[in-house]
Symmetry: C5
Subunit: 353 residues, 5 copies
């Protein structure tokens, strides 16, 4: 089963543990990278066939297996078989509409997270990352090539890296930390967009601004949905009974928990700002309408009575003595000027002009 867009509802009725890929069409082949390290050495390999992963189970080193591309269900299934993963884990790995969560199975801990990135136009996209944390290994699953883990790879390669002598749990922490660090980039760009729109609302609230507000609100809903559950995920790891997580790593998990809270805090700040935007937009638009109406009212209110006066003196009655007067015309103009002046003073009093 390769590549088509599969929706969650198409899984309806399948038994639990059914391995069906739910996600966007993904071109390209599934790739498997393996990094194995001990304090003394490091090996990096690219594995072609999932069956070859059996060689990496139960090693006397920390093994990180990174699988990119979920549409080749067979690969996931084989991996699960080798490492003895519960069918419900495999099912969740393949369903990329999962909510971030952490589940404690006896032999392994299963973690689902959302990696978030900014597209060129500043809009936000996500990718589901699953981590399976075992005794001496971490397996990460990604939807598409490209991730935020390069700094971790770089550190592993350093022979002097302290964490070389720490276990798989520290490696998992490092991956989660890198992923959460990635959020800061996204929310900073988002913050800039929100500021820009916020200024525009007051300065020049056109229909395009309304579209932007709508867009921001929707992305905010999306971001919150991805980030909020991360707090629970990391707190779960920090407090788990599992012996897979050492005391030392828990201290570092507290640190990344803190980062997540900071991201959430900033998102809530944006939410509070966005919440008022529509009301300000409406008020701002109402101010502009007010201004338009005032111009119309002033012009119309001045000239309609004047036109009426002109109309009266344009009537064709035979017997209109003022039409015959030598100063009838200038007097009528003066009358009109007088009316206009009175109205102008009235508007001035009302502070419309």
């Amino acid at each position: 089963m390769t590549g088509a867009v599969v929706r969650r509802s198409q899984k309806a009725g399948l038994p639990p543990g059914s391995l069906v890929y739910v996600g966007d069409e993904a071109a390209g082949k599934t790739t498997i990278e393996v990094i194995e390290y001990t304090p003394e050495r490091i090996d990096e390999t690219s594995v072609q066939d999932a069956g070859d992963l059996a060689a990496y189970h139960g090693r006397d080193a920390v093994v990180w297996i990174n699988i990119t591309g979920l549409h080749e269900v067979g690969v996931i299934e084989k991996t699960g078989e080798i490492f003895g993963l519960h069918p419900l884990i495999l099912e969740d790995i393949l369903n990329t509409e999962q909510r971030p969560k952490m589940e404690d199975y006896d032999e392994t801990i299963y973690v689902v997270m959302k990696m978030i990135g900014s597209l060129e136009d500043g809009r936000v996209a996500d990718e589901q990352i699953s981590l399976v944390i075992g005794d001496r290994y971490v397996i990460s699953f990604q939807e598409r090539p490209g991730d935020v883990f390069d700094p971790v790879r770089g550190r592993i390669r350093l022979p002097k890296w302290r964490a070389r002598r720490l276990g798989a749990d520290y490696l998992a922490y490092a991956l989660i930390d890198a992923l959460v660090d990635g959020y800061f980039h996204v929310i900073e760009r988002f913050g800039e967009r929100i500021e820009a729109v916020d200024d525009q609302i007051i300065a020049d609230p056109d229909p395009e601004t309304l579209r932007s507000i709508r867009e921001l609100r929707r992305e905010l809903i999306f971001l919150r949905k991805s980030v909020w559950p991360m707090r629970e995920v990391i707190a779960g790891l920090e407090r788990t009974d599992s012996t897979l997580v050492t005391q030392q790593t828990r201290l570092y998990l507290r640190d990344v928990y803190d980062h997540t809270v900071q991201v959430i805090d900033t998102l809530e700040t944006y939410r509070d700002m966005a919440a008022g935007m529509l009301d300000i937009y409406l008020s701002s638009a109402s101010n502009r309408m007010n201004e338009v109406m005032k111009v119309l009212t002033i012009i119309a209110t001045i000239f309609i009575p004047l036109s009426f006066i002109a109309g009266v003196f344009g009537m064709n009655f035979r017997n209109m003595p003022e039409l015959e007067w030598g100063y009838g015309y200038p007097t009528s103009l003066a009358l009109m000027a007088g009316v206009a002046l009175v109205l102008l003073i009235y508007f001035r009093r009302k502070r419309w002009i």
Copy 2:
């Protein structure tokens, strides 16, 4: 008592455990299907008389009794008598306005849920499903023919189905899982409708759009009311003290709990989107009004002064020397053009045109 629409308030004053059908008029006869299976064999029968169910109580196999149609109260009463169900369970089965809940009676567990489906026009309808989970049996009660359980029936019929050797609790889980899977279909369709309306609000916010927003909001209220309590229901099953639910099944219940949370999450996303829709609609409508007002203001503001000038030169005073000038007429036209130009420049400055 067959078929009429009965409202909840008509039960007022009846003693507890009174068997009164509260629901829509339901044509057709009540039907009873029985599926009995062991690892070795499977029997499917259609039972005509509720009294015949006595044969299926206390069997050495898992028995699934599916009763469709609640308006024949006698059938429900007889079934309750045979399986020793508490009168309060029977009363709740018949009251189809029940809130989803899970209740632990000593010998049985009683579960009420809402099955949700999309009508042809995309609108949402529900049907109350009750499950009674006993030692070796599950009894399901439906309001109308048609359900989402066919995939479960299909799996039971497979001789190699693993769960053949599991108990009634796993069967109940499978039914609940199928029902929750059905939610995904409904919320995906609902999501499409919400997207469509959301686009329309910006592009072309007519009164019909307002009607759609109202409709969406009401259905969302309805959906949330059906789905939210499911979380508690499944968590209740997962954590119950009852020995009717085995440890193995609880792991699967955690999985379906997860699905429910995912559905709720999506519903909350829609709710957040819908919450802003009316404000955006109002802003969008205000934008359109603004545009209308601007056109009126520009036209009126330009032509009202011009008409006034024409009116002045249309007055019938005898002594209006400019009327006699050879270039009076073109001069007056030039004057009018000048006034119009000044106003156009003014509007340009204000960026109205």
Copy 3:
């Protein structure tokens, strides 16, 4: 002290346990009905003097004393003396602005609730009902004649009524159940009114509709205030340490708890609906204004320029050659028609017509 409207603030400064009636003026006399029953017999009496109640204390039967009319403070005081009720209970019975609550005194349990009814015009009214539950007796206190307990009276009179052999706690449950059943009638009527207004908002949002929305919101506030605390009251009874409530009755209390949750659920649904109503009303009213403005704009925008043209040709300059042309008049009409046509096409383009 008989009959006047007394407000809560008039009690300020009185010592605790002061017996002052706080409520609406209540005409008529206080009445006392007593029903006494054992499995074998039933006696119904009307007691004239509160002092005679002493005969009903410490009987070997279940006694239900129903006192209607709280303005005769002496009756309440005497009753309290006979049954040894705490002064704070008596004070609360007389204060009809009490919030529903359940209080555990050692010898008795005190329960305050609100009975709700629909007036002829569909509006909602309430009446405070107090229950004192003792070892073998229940005393109910009402503000006015008329209640929802007739079905309970009817059941007590049936010789075959199972509950004849149950204690006072079951009788109290039956009264609470009848009272909660009464809520369903009220909220169904309320639901119909809310539906009617909801349709009107879209179809024909006139000022009268606004008044209805306001009315519904106020009644909803009122209803929620009466019903929400009932959940706590019944849960309190279900979980109390008191030996006055038997295990069997607790199962029935769970059932009526369930009913209360259902009522609350429906009220919250109405609240969600009502919450959006004003926004929809405003949008709907804005749509109608928009329509009005469009008509004005179209008419004015077409005819104002045409009038200007007519005004120009109505000027009295001597030297206006076009006035002399043979085809001047039809040409001017054609010019006007042309201008109108251009404007109509413009409006068509904007989809205003």
Copy 4:
């Protein structure tokens, strides 16, 4: 340090326990009243010098010291010294912007509350009341003369008052109860004002109404801030470990807790009512605008085309044959009437008239 308005920020940087009066300017002298009572006797004195209070410490009677006026810091300091009060208590007594709270020091319990009163115009004002509850004494501190404690004073003077033989904790309860009773008066007056504004919004929503809504909202914020924390305060007293509060008094504290909940409940009702007021005002104002616009539209839409027709027949073309017809004039009038009629029918159809 006497009398000036001191703001909280001026205390910045002072060490904890610094005795600085934060409050409004308070004219007049600080007064000290002492009431001492046993079951047998009662003594009332007015103490001139705080130093004389030493005589009332450690007496074999219940002593109530009531100090009015906080600006004479020395008095408070001396009192604290005599009764061994913690400097943090004294500091809080002097800071009249304290939030209501209850603090358990080992030898004493410290309680801060807000006494609320209605000014002549119905607006709300508050005064901070501190209570220090010791083994055989209660000291109350007020900002200004006048309080709601007169009924308590009256009861103490009654020789037959049951509570004469109860301890200082019951006296403290009686003071708190009197203070909470005072709330009912305020919220009833507030309720009347809210009702009046609510009616005005629909009947005649002028700018003055908007001002009233604003005022009500602000006072509601103020009231809630004073009253909400009282719930916690009284619950704290009811559940405290301190031996200063006897079992018997706790029962009475539950009663006054109940009153507080009732006040809060009513405030929340007002809040819900006030929450919708602005939306209703806006809708109501929009309805009025709509009406204005309709009148304008109807008049303008009818007469603008008619004026155009008149303008056409007022043009000065030489060759306008209809002007010469005998029935030209009445025909033109008929034409105008026809146009007006068509427009009137159109408006009727739209139900604008």
Copy 5:
């Protein structure tokens, strides 16, 4: 690394404990002040080189080291080395976008807070303050010169200061107390601005007012983000298991906790006020628009029909007998006056004038 603005996202991918300054460009040099005191003596020094701090570790006196300026990362690193601070503490000190928090490391307690100040124009700015509380020392870290700790310095210098004999925990308390005291000044100024805008909204709601409302809302979001977490921070210190905080100091921490709650309470009051401001602004603006529209409608509605009448009598039909009448002209004027009068009465009836 000196001075540039560094954003949080630039830390992405760095290992935990990486020392990178995240903050605004900060000119000037990092300064280190040391105050050491015992009950008998006090020493104040300015340390040039962080390495010299080693002399102050493990002293038999209380040592307060105050470091101002975080951009010189080496200073922070050296300090951490000398006092054995965990790398995660150092990292957080340098990241000035930290959320206020309190963390218990075994040997030290780490506290991050926000110092808030008002700029000249009343707007609000913050500065991150970190405290490291050790056995006999407190180290404070600030971003920029200037703080609210001068009163604490003053008190330390007093030989008779009671706290001279208390430990580092009391010193830390005194610093936190001074910082929280600083909030009162800011929120009082903020309160004045909110009052001013609140009045302006009703009196003269121009676009500038809208800008002010927006500003206030944003600053409120900012203030709440800084202050809310302080409650948790101080509660954490009050309840910590750590032996670094003595029982006596905890009593004082309860006092400053109280101050924080008071600040939060006031902020929430402002939030409630600000929440309604936009709605009131919109209503107020709508009132003004209404007034404008009424003037337009009255003038236009009166003069448009009059102009029509004048237009009719300005038509050039040959056969218009009324034009020839001697009283035609005054009759026509009377007709116009009559029409105007009828309309004026109509407007009066509608209470528009």
